[in-house]
Structure formats: C-alpha cells, structure tokens
Symmetry: C2
Subunit: 239 residues, 2 copies
C-alpha cells in the first residue's frame, strides 16, 4: 500500500553528502588554492582527513568539552591541525579562512537543485544541517539551491543527531513530528530523526566517500521514502 | 558624494509595514473570516487595535514579564483580549488560530517582490522581523518573496529594537556591522540598527497605518539610502 503523505508540510535536508558532493568539490578546489598559497600535499587524502575530523570536532561540542562553536570555526581549527600533522607551513589567517570557505562553495549532486525545486512547489524545503547559517546561505546562493529557509545546528545550539535539532524544527514550525520529513543519505541521521517521530526519506549517495565507500550503501531502516536521487524521493512523496 | 556600498554583503528587512501591507490585508481578510465564524464587529478598527497590541505584547517579553514567546502566540492572545473587550463570543481554539494565521498571509506592497529580487542578485536578502520563523516562511511562500533566509527575533530570542537582534545577524554572518543594511519603513527601527553600526535603508510607506498616518512619513535620520519603494532603494545601493 502506498504511504500517505497528505499530512506532510516540511522537508528538511541533510546537506553535506546528501545535497552537495563535498568530496568531489574539495578534491577539485584544494589543489588550486594550495598552489595559490604555496602548499603542496596529497589533497585527496587531505579532503578525506578533513572530513574525518568533522564528527570528532562536533563531538567536543556535543560532549560539552567545548562551548557552542560553529562549523566554520571547527573546520578552520581542523584545517590547522592537519597542516601541523603534515608538516605544512601555516599560510596566515586570511589564507586559512579562504580554505575554510571552500565548504561554502561545495557543488550540488546533478539531481539536487531540480529535486528540491520540485519539492518546493508542494512543501516548505529547508536545510537541517550541522553547517552554520552563513555557510548554508552562501552555498545556496553559489549553487542556486532554492531553500525556503536554512535551519542549522546553529539555530538550536545542538548538533545532529541530538534530538533538540530535529524537534527544534518541529516546534518552530508549530507542527507534529510526522509532518516534517528529514531527507538524508545517512542511515544514522534518519534513525535519530525517526526516533523523534519525524518522517524519513533516504537518498542513495554511493559515491559520497569515493569509489571505496563502505557505509550508507543502502537503506538500512524502515524509511518512508527511498530513492536514488532527490527527484525520485520528490516523486514518491507526491511532487 | 555618492555613498560607497562596495563593502555591503547582506540586506535584512523589517517585514510588517515595510515589505507587506498588514493593514490592507487584514481589513480585506478579517470580515470574510468573521462571517465564516459568525463574528460581527468593525473590522477596520479591529485591525488597528490588533496591531496596537503588538508593541505592548512584545514589551512584556522585552521587560522580562513573560518568558520568550513567539509572535504567533502573542497575536493569538491579543486577538482573544480584543474579543473579550468587544463582547464577542470566543469561536473556539481552531478558529482563533485561523484568525491568527491571517498574519501569515499578508500581501506585499506592489514593489516589494521586484525590489527584493533585484537586491538578491547582488546581496544576501533576508528578513529581520519580530514575526516568528514559521510566519515568515509561510508568508514568503504565499506571497512569492524570494528570501535567502528568514532571520527573526525568534532566532536570537530578542525582539527588535534590542541590539541582540541586529548584532545577532552580523555575528551569524561573520561580518562587520556596516556590511549589513537594515531596510525598514520605521525611523525607530533604523535608529536602533544604526546605533549598532549597521547600514540603513529607509522606504517610505506613508499608507501603512491608513490615510490618517501621523508617523514615519519621512526619513528622520541620516540613513544611508532612502527611497519611495524597495526598487528605488535597490537602485541606490548599486543593484
């Protein structure tokens, strides 16, 4: 039996990996910026290592070891940790911010802008990303992603998968949890949202981590909609 | 000498009165909803009285007499206060929410969508309204206003003219105050933003309060851009 989405009002999206190809974008942009600032390293492994520090850096905030800190600042610090680890020279504050802002310029997967545009006709479409608000706004402008609004961990001072992030959107929109759907390429994110009562949409992104990807290769939960693109998920929820 | 806006990045807008015609919209919509729910009164004066309770209701939050409360809830309570004052029967919770949601459906002034669209090509365009986030998102969808983002008093748990609201946007965007311009039809709002170092744009809205309007009939401060429409302000800041 087809699921009933007649009560659905808002679709919120995970962004890194689900909407934009962080790895492909960084692997393309890092060497160029490296040349500009006289830094040479294996930028593909650098991109993976940088992303590898994302969860541990947020973990420090989630555990209370750090006060609330935005992703731009966590990305900047992680970049500097990797410079040091690789014995690379610090290129100065301004250059480090230029590298950090590569995350503001990540490119969407080929189906993202069309799929979100389709959903926008019927639902409120918004981010719910751990990326901070400035990053999400700048990325959307750069990539032409037509969000109605950018919800962020910053909005609620809680990083996903803390329930405060998912339930913060529900509360702010005066809705019931099932009237909000999280769309994500990560089973863990969807599981946390489902535990809060939200609806769930899984998008296959088998190349997010490159050709050797081992996780999130398939839907591992009882998600309400599953598709190989955001366009396919949009069609499954009646757009 | 022409002012220099080369450093400007973000234009944030007051919404009620500046972007949308709250009075004209309410005067058109209230009688229809009144008939539906069997309520009869002078709806023009009702609209003015409802708006009249806006500042006092927020004042209770700003003074700390009420904990943080969103405008939807303050509007709903004010509506119920007016029902009682006018000896009208309470039409039930659901109907009262229907009246409250008329604020989600306010229509833009004729130049608003075009002017904001013009600015969006060059700057980040966002609200900074005391209206709550759900209200602002729903209004934008209904009216076709192409915001990049909805900043609200709700975002910072402070109502304008508290400095925390203006400086909250500056901080969230990692900018300096003068890189953010508040666009508003209200001299008091602009004065508070200017005191925080923000740039300022004044839009003439001489009919916001109807034909007998006595305040905000002209620019009363040294604002950076002044126009009779948002389109005119957009042109003055290089769009």
């Amino acid at each position: 039996m087809a699921k009933d989405f007649s009560d659905l009002k808002v679709c919120i999206f995970d962004v890194f990996g689900t909407v934009v190809d962080w790895r492909g974008s960084l692997i393309e942009d890092l060497p160029k910026l490296g040349r500009k600032h006289g830094l040479d390293t294996d930028w593909t492994s650098f991109a993976d290592d940088w992303r590898g520090l994302y969860q541990p850096q947020m973990g420090r905030v989630r555990k209370g070891d750090l006060p609330w800190t935005r992703i731009d600042d966590l990305h900047k610090e992680a970049f500097e940790m990797l410079l040091q680890k690789r014995g690379l020279k610090h290129p100065g504050e301004e250059a480090v911010w230029e590298f950090t802002h590569l995350w503001h310029k990540l490119r969407p997967w080929p189906d993202s802008v069309e799929g979100i545009g389709l959903m926008k006709k019927k639902y409120v479409v918004a981010t719910l990303s751990n990326g901070n608000v400035a990053l999400l706004i700048n990325m959307a402008k750069n990539a032409g992603i037509p969000w109605d609004h950018c919800f962020s961990g910053e909005t609620f001072h809680h990083y996903k998968p803390d329930p405060e992030a998912y339930l913060g959107v529900v509360d702010s929109m005066y809705l019931k949890p099932h009237q909000v759907m999280l769309v994500a390429a990560h089973n863990g994110d969807l599981a946390a949202a489902q535990k809060c009562g939200l609806s769930t949409g899984f998008v296959h992104r088998p190349l997010e981590h490159g050709p050797g990807q081992t996780r999130d290769l398939k839907a591992e939960g009882n998600w309400d909609a599953v598709g190989s693109s955001i366009v396919e998920v949009a069609k499954k929820i009646g757009c």
